[in-house]
Amino acid sequence: MGYFGGIIILLCINSIAAMGVSLLTGFTGIFTLGHAAYMALGAYTTAILTVQYGVHWFLAILAGGVISMTIAYLIGIPTLKLMGDYYAIASIGLVESIRLILENWQSLTKGARGYPGIEGFTTLPVALIFLVVMTIGMINLINSRYGRAFKACRDDYLAASLLGYNTAFYRILSLAISGFYCGIAGALMAGFMTFIQPVMFDMMKSTELTSVVVFGGLGSLSGTLLASTVITLVVELFRPISQYRMLIYGGILVAIMVLRPEGIMGSWEVWDLSKGLSFVRTKSKRGGNDGLS
């Protein structure tokens, strides 16, 4: 497989997780600082099911996704029915609690030293197939009735609820689906690393996921994928100066918010770009005409 293949697999995993966060933060407008918790849930579920119970890895991955989704749903009910930063605060609490449980439930998770001996089922084809299927699923979701409801909740929840959307339901649904994506990503991570540890899924990982979505553009799926690629590669390239990595992340986050809060892509998708350019052109032409008349 080699180093290069490894990076591609990592890229696929990070992209799947980032898509989950993108759905929640980019398309539904809910801030999260704890999505690594769902990755941890997925990873540990898969690891325990395959190693301890001999479940086939494919089923175990799906189980990882479903467990994360369930937990996300349960956390969503009390926090997302309220407007305000309740979910953001709860998400930090969640990621810390999950880490504590994983570290202290020795008999099940083997504690802080990590869970060894997982089958290396995440090969390059597996990772690529998962990425393609999950991306197609996400594109369809975003362009569906549900996707429009998510965006409506983000842009104006009052108007959305006046139009008859149950905004609380859609916000919680969005969280559950994004939990599912992160759970799958975590499960694939377990199969790729063959060894998982609670510290792999800490606040820093959560921050990284949120940063990727912000870099890529809030509300752009292809932007998220692009940013995820760029960041995974940049992290690999700049391993020697990794102590500056977080500093640079933070600086860029602030700079993007101050200078261009829409991120690289804004709400545009790559496949809209040709359409977009012609749209910009016609708009400027029209603008010119208005100026003349």
Binding site: F31, L94, I101
Partner: protein, 293 residues
């Protein structure tokens, strides 16, 4: 009985330190309606300024403490000026402010990691930590009593500032409605700078006490999550609520640590958050009816 009284005092003392942090966070929330995640950074700035002031200017806690408070207040106001004001002036979307504050918290934390290093440091022994015998019932640390007294002094000072001074009146008006307060002739930018300065000063006091309690390291700011939870338990944006919530949290944490397991204390904090949101989402003192979606 003795142990119980001891844990009670420990809990109140820890709670009073949380209160200093939670009140500053709540103050910012009441005006700008977003969670300032950089608040943890202010604590670290306070701790390190105090540490270096003590080291370089002789062990005088008055000088060191004053410098730490001043520096942190200024740093907080500067953070607002650099990162939040440009966003605030352009858009109403709170998500952008949240992301920028996350960025600032990463920047502050990692500035210390990169320049000073992630090593744990102990403040010079300027704050007495010797045991004190209390009413013949229990033994406690002078430090615990001192942190309670200092917290009471600062919180009373804040209360006087908010209730009696002209700027305090403006802050109360802005907490009701920032825009209207601006239309009535309050200099909103000045007001927000003052609010951040005050929040920074309180965070610095909390930071000094926390760095005596837990030693000083760049990730010390992560402890603000407990202050955030305390603010939610007491009612987001309410200052008395933040104080009461902090005391409840400090007591719950210390009693769990003392009588059940010290590893469960952080889980208890998170459960308290979820229970509050389920049972009484407005928190104990949340006055306005929350927007429920």
């Amino acid at each position: 009985m003795g142990t119980f009284a001891q844990q009670l005092i420990n809990g109140i003392s820890l709670g009073s330190v949380y209160a200093l942090i939670a009140v500053g966070y709540s103050l910012v929330y009441s005006i700008l309606l977003f969670s300032n995640f950089a608040h943890g950074g202010f604590i670290v700035i306070g701790g390190y300024t105090c540490y270096y002031a003590l080291r370089s200017m002789g062990n005088n806690i008055w000088v060191g403490g004053f410098l730490a408070l001043l520096a942190t207040g200024i740093a907080a106001a500067l953070t607002e000026r650099i990162a939040y004001r440009p966003i605030r002036e352009r858009t109403d979307i709170k998500l952008y402010l949240l992301i920028a504050s996350l960025g600032m918290s990463i920047v502050i934390e990692n500035l210390f990691v990169v320049t000073i290093g992630g090593r744990f440091r102990a403040l010079p022994p300027v704050i007495p930590t010797n045991p004190v015998r209390l009413f013949g019932i229990t033994t406690t640390s002078a430090f615990d009593l001192l942190s309670m007294v200092v917290a009471v002094i600062f919180l009373t000072g804040l209360q006087l500032f908010i209730k009696k001074s002209k700027w305090g009146l403006a802050i109360r008006a802005a907490a009701c409605d920032l825009r209207t307060a601006g239309l009535m002739g309050v200099n909103v930018n000045m007001l927000i700078s003052i609010v951040f300065f005050v929040a920074g000063v309180l965070a610095a006091v909390g930071g000094i006490f926390l760095s005596v309690r837990y030693t000083l390291y760049p990730q010390l700011g992560a402890i603000t999550i407990k202050a955030f939870v305390a603010a939610v338990v007491g009612g987001l944006g309410s200052l008395p609520g933040a104080v009461v919530g902090s005391l409840i949290l400090g007591l719950a944490e210390m009693l769990t640590a003392g009588f059940i397991s010290s590893q469960l204390r952080d889980l208890v904090v998170f459960s308290l958050l979820v229970i509050t949101l389920l049972v009484k989402p407005t928190g104990l003192f949340g006055k306005e009816p929350l927007e429920k979606v």
